[in-house]
Symmetry: C4
Subunit: 259 residues, 4 copies
């Protein structure tokens, strides 16, 4: 708790004072609450099998759209409040606190720059997604819980940027990935993994969990060998209009992650 | 325990006095026992992977066939006795206790109205079932534990009711689903999930668990590529004549769910 | 512990005095040790996923080949020493202690009668085995840990005995199954499950665990679509000559089951 | 702790004094630290599903390249510091401490002799690998976490050495396996399992975990039926140049294994 408060104070000092224009609507969460949510999100993503020792989740700061929260370089399941750092749009920490950063942190800064609507991002190597990332078979929406898949999940190939070690370690590589993502909710990365975006931390976690589920389901449906009726774009659009899509599951996932 | 008793008292007040005609046979369970069973059923369905943060299970009240028990809108694994509400055949809670209800509660009321033989209902999005819900390949019974599958598992497509957000949020949609279910023990919902019905809470839980198992097994048998000998309708009919089909597993599932 | 001793005393009274001819070799285990092993075997088979709420394991009594130990009708994971009963070759308990017996206990008595070499039997519905039980594709040995599969795993179809409810509830049905098993280590039961036999409790547990593993592996190998090189009968025969095949894993499984 | 110190003292006595030439670079770990790492590696490999009751991991001694550390014959999950023995290049323990050795310990000695660059070895029967070990379909690299697979994973068939019981129980058999491995990071063993090698204990554990992941992913990609874009040899080579490939996951795996 002590380190949570210390961390929150630290965030507060680093951030611009709240903008008056943003004070309409519900009161913005405190920095301590943001940090606590980030820790829970890290633990849930590990607990639900979206992330293993690698991968990361970030949150755009609700009072400063040019900054975002991201853990220092470490396994998500082990993240504590003291490990949450604040980053700028150059992909560098405002105060590194002597810690190392994820090599691929530019994924977050470049997507936040390209997509003002995006408030939270997951970068993952979820096992069920890699087969689709490497395959010519496109992901399709299997059910209402993954309706956003009906909008299309593009595959971005880092090879289009020349020969690399497959890691998105620079801003130009990340910018290319952001272009590959376009206006979509998720993109697959050939030979690597995926990025998932949403308008809240809860929804980006929910989308990541159900993107995994959808991939497993589609694989099984294909293996059955029959004709498959995927969710239509029109149905999916109606379904996605509900802003609290995954909120009911959050408390459950949180309890499971704490076990 | 206090809230269990309070909840039971509340149920008692809401229900009509026991009908004399129903007093033959074993004594009816008390309301406290019904609530306790409902909580266990919710936890088992979560623990066995039939439900995740979504989905629900209901029980027709044994002393008032026009009412049923269902949790308020929340993740099944977290349900406690205080969360069990009583609903009428209009799909609305008798006393909402200030809580929100599942959007898809009409699934329960409409099936109870259409099927006087049904005493308990599960609505689920079990991952193994969605591939069959979206596929032209019909479910077939793989073994005696899922003998009811031999009777056929129809697929209901909400699209036949026009464009929707895939949720069964109204009585007319639920009535159409009940018609799709017909006289069967289970129906798949295209792009969504399934409903499972039975004559008791233990059996609807058992059928849901083994419908999941059967789906996984059929998928693997299909993948093997040989000729498959499914359970015959005649064998299945004999097997289903045993009313205590899944009772032996209940204590095991209950213990696992409590861990 | 008290019930363990009571149970052991009970077993002792029910069994014939040790035969002098069997006193060569290591000292025979006490009845208390046999009961303890049976409890552990039940728990391991549940913990390793071979059995769920159904299925059973038996052990021929080392000092009376016409009797065998088997739990009363209950979920294997919940078995305690007080639940272990002694059965005769008619498939009936010597002393039922007021408890009900598994309906399919005749599987054990008939196989023990037909196969003097068999000392322990598992009857299971392991999910990975049902696809092979229903398929025309035969099981083949994938690796040395399941070398016994190379000897062949026949499929027995209860339909050859006329129309049934798929349960082996009578001695004649069980005798037919024993004939289907023949001299093999395991047989699949169409629309139902499998039986596995061995010369010791440890080995029948080990074979059951690795039969499950082998089934999963073969399914995956088939799905890969290439040419598969199965373990040859000659290699398997050499491998199976080691009597302590699965003993190293026993302590590990026991610890996992106790968690 | 007492036995850890005792074990360390024992190792120290058995090893040649540190060579002066090796004293440049970071200080070599103490024997107690080596033993502790070996115990953790055993537990992680069991916890992550690479090893079950069988299989083993070894570490070449950093101060005596002609000796290596390996547990006595037992299930990896149960290994404690007192169970770590020191072996010579003849595959025999320097001091057996009255314990039995793994039958297949020669796998380690022969690979260490053939591959001076190798510092750690895993021999496993990981379920996902056996389908590839028996199949004509070669393993291919699915993503950056398993980049080493792009270098090729040869299949070694013990049948080329004549009829055996499938176990690598002699130095000549192990020498043949080492030749099959050649200069690669991993080799599959037909009808048996795999060997994985690396320049450190952390990396051999990491490679074993991600070889398993890669096998599962490739199987799923093949099942999808589309065209698959595997990781290229050029990309993989760049990726493998990072010596701390799997270090971030170590602490996570260690914590999970300790649960």
């Amino acid at each position: 708790m002590k380190s949570l408060l210390a961390s929150a104070v630290c965030l507060g000092l680093l951030l611009a004072p709240p903008l008056g224009a943003q004070r309409s609507g519900p009161p913005a969460p405190t920095d301590a609450a943001l940090v606590a949510d980030m820790v829970v999100a890290n633990h849930i993503l590990a607990s639900e099998g979206v992330l293993d020792g690698m991968g990361h989740v970030s949150l755009r700061h609700p009072r400063d759209p040019n900054r975002f929260l991201l853990a220092r370089s470490m396994a998500p399941a082990l993240v504590t409040d003291a490990d949450i750092l604040v980053y700028g749009m150059d992909g560098e920490p405002i105060d590194a606190k002597g810690q190392s950063s994820y090599q691929e942190r530019f994924i977050h800064s470049e997507i936040y720059k390209a997509r003002p609507d995006v408030q939270a991002i997951v970068h993952c190597h979820t096992p069920s997604l890699i087969p689709f990332a490497d395959s010519s078979v496109p992901m399709r929406a299997m059910y209402h819980m993954a309706a956003f898949v009906a909008d299309g999940v593009p595959v971005w190939d880092i090879r289009t940027m020349g020969l690399t070690d497959l890691l998105v370690k620079t801003a130009p590589l990340a910018k290319s990935l952001a272009q590959g993502l376009g206006t979509k909710s998720a993109a697959l990365m050939r030979g690597h993994g995926a990025v998932v975006v949403a308008t809240s931390l809860q929804n980006v976690v929910g989308r990541s969990v159900y993107l995994d589920q959808n991939a497993r389901m589609q694989l099984q449906a294909v293996a059955l060998g029959g004709k498959i009726s995927y969710v239509g774009a029109d149905e999916a659009k109606l379904r996605m209009s509900d802003p609290a899509e995954y909120s009911r599951a959050w408390d459950l996932w949180k309890r499971k992650a704490a076990k």
